[in-house]
């Protein structure tokens, strides 16, 4: 463990790493927006192909002030959260069952893989047909996308526990529940986090895909609306918010990972 006093003493004269990171990110943003702005103005790109950054910013502000943005953002974020959490729980439980029970493995494994090999876009219209245009079909699509990486991650995590540690669990007379809580779950966390990083992106893909096909609200719906009404600034604003949502989801998982897996960073 590092002693905070020593770390502070040695780095006093430097910029704190977090501030440095934020500074670099800002610089990137300025450069990209600057390049975009220059390209639009110098090459005289027509606004229906690529509006300039200030038009997109204006659209973002308008949607923010008239509430159009918040309602749709909230709708999408809620669906992502429900779908992601549900997918994590289902995937982890399935992964555990498939690992510990040969019986479950032999019955379920082929179907699971076939289901996963099928492109989800192909299933999406079926889901709409079966479950209607509402929330149900959207959530099922998100769940179908997110559970798989978590299931694989749980499988890999459990397989990573060494035979000696399993023997130790036997010797210490650990019950199945205690062994799961003390050994298997913490031992699988690194790979569960890798799985969660894939799953959160899949959850977002699922949410937007669902909104493209069927929804009456959400960020995906905003994109469709912007596109079909030739409101290109609105389309781009929705894309930018979408990217921001994606980065936040990924960032939150990375923060949780570095908190919970502190033992890995002290190497």
């Amino acid at each position: 463990m590092s002693t905070p006093g020593i770390t502070v003493g040695a780095r006093e004269w430097r910029t704190p790493p977090v501030a440095k990171h934020a500074l670099y990110s800002m610089l990137y943003l300025v450069v990209i927006i600057g390049a975009w702005w220059s390209y639009v103005h110098i090459a005289k790109v027509p606004p229906f192909l690529l509006p300039s950054p200030d038009a997109v910013g204006q659209s973002l502000l308008t949607m923010g002030s008239n509430g159009q943005l918040w309602g749709n953002l909230g709708y999408t974020v809620r669906n992502i959260v429900i779908g992601f959490v549900g997918g994590v729980v289902i995937g982890t439980v399935l992964g555990y069952l498939l690992s510990v029970s040969r019986w479950a493995r032999e019955i379920a494994a082929p179907y699971v893989v076939i289901l996963q090999a099928a492109p989800k876009i192909a299933i999406a219209p079926l889901l709409v047909l079966w479950f209607g245009l509402g929330l149900t079909s959207q959530l099922i699509l998100i769940l179908a996308l997110t559970f798989f990486p978590m299931m694989i991650a749980m499988n890999l995590g459990l397989a990573s526990i060494s035979n000696d540690v399993k023997t130790l669990g036997d010797l210490l007379g650990m019950s199945r529940i205690r062994y799961f809580l003390v050994v298997q779950l913490p031992g699988s966390l690194p790979s569960l986090f890798s799985g969660a990083k894939v799953a959160i992106i899949d959850a977002m893909t699922g949410a937007f895909l669902a909104e493209y096909i069927s929804a009456q609200s959400g960020l995906g719906f905003l994109m469709v609306l912007g596109n079909s009404t030739y409101n290109i600034p609105m389309l781009l604003a929705a894309v930018i918010v979408t990217v921001a949502v994606g980065l936040s989801g990924f960032g939150l998982i990375s923060i949780a990972e570095s908190r919970l897996l502190r033992w890995r960073s002290t190497r």
Binding site: M1, S162, D164, V165, T167, L168, D170, L171, L172, G173, M174, R178, V182, V183, P186, G187, L189, L261, W263, R264, T266, R267
Partner: protein, 249 residues
């Protein structure tokens, strides 16, 4: 004579994936006294580790008998040290040592004081809050040894415990083990490939023959219990180790 532990006519036959039956151990009998250090040596695949797993009650499919003066209580009486430390990397050193004490009704303060005594015994008291990844290989194996001793088991079983370490660390850990024995007088059964290690540590050495494993011979080490670096220089030491080596050929 009531032995601390008696292994009588143990035979182990297992089926390979190809359906052939292989005899790993054949009619092995062995008595172990309380507070004794016994080394099992033999060529690779002679069933030394299998025998250790039978004593630990991890392997129950064999014929013959493993009889204890006091049958071990599950989860409390067998200390086991593997070739790899097998520590839980997400637990601090202290929490790794505490693993076998948790969930057995001891209070936290009792566990804490037991753990700090154990860490002091192997000179790791300053590393209680470190993670295993911050330790050297030798230190990790010391943690594994005191983890096995934490719940005061009847017997300490060691499966090539120093096999993965370099020569210098290995010598140091052998001295640590002897010091631990001085303090605890635990019965130790140790599987090893090294005749020097067997000679240096053990009271008696059991030589097993190649597969199927049988007890080829049992030798009492002709050295006093007090052993240190000079012991390795003694002519008896070299003679005994040489004799063991010729037994293995």
């Amino acid at each position: 004579m009531t032995d601390f532990l008696a292994v009588t006519s143990v035979t182990k036959v297992y089926q390979t994936a190809q359906g052939q039956s292989v005899t790993a151990l054949s009619d092995v009998s062995l008595e172990i006294a309380d507070q004794e250090i016994v080394a099992l040596i033999g060529p690779s695949g002679c069933g030394k580790s299998t025998l250790l797993r039978m004593i630990a009650n991890l392997d129950r499919s064999f014929t013959g008998e493993v009889r204890w003066a006091n049958p071990p209580k599950p989860g409390k009486d067998i200390g086991f040290v593997f070739q790899e430390p097998a520590l839980l990397p997400w637990r601090s050193v202290a929490r790794n040592v505490a693993l076998g004490l948790e969930g057995k009704g001891s209070s936290k303060s009792v566990i804490d004081s037991r753990v700090s005594d154990l860490l002091e015994m192997v000179g790791l008291q300053d590393f209680a809050t470190s993670y295993p990844s911050e330790l050297s290989g030798g230190m990790r194996q010391r943690v594994a040894i005191v983890r096995a001793l934490a719940y005061d088991p009847q017997i300490l079983l060691m499966d090539e415990p120093f096999g993965a370490l370099d020569a210098i660390t290995r010598d140091r850990l052998q001295d640590d083990l002897l010091r631990i024995w001085e303090q605890t007088h635990k019965t130790i059964v140790l599987v090893t490939h090294s005749v020097e290690e067997a000679t240096y540590l053990a009271d008696r050495v059991v030589v097993l023959s190649p597969r199927p494993g049988r007890v080829k011979s049992v030798h009492t080490v002709p050295l006093s219990r007090k052993r240190n670096a000079e012991t390795r220089e003694l002519p008896e030491f070299a003679r005994f180790a040489g004799m063991l080596r010729s037994e293995l050929e």
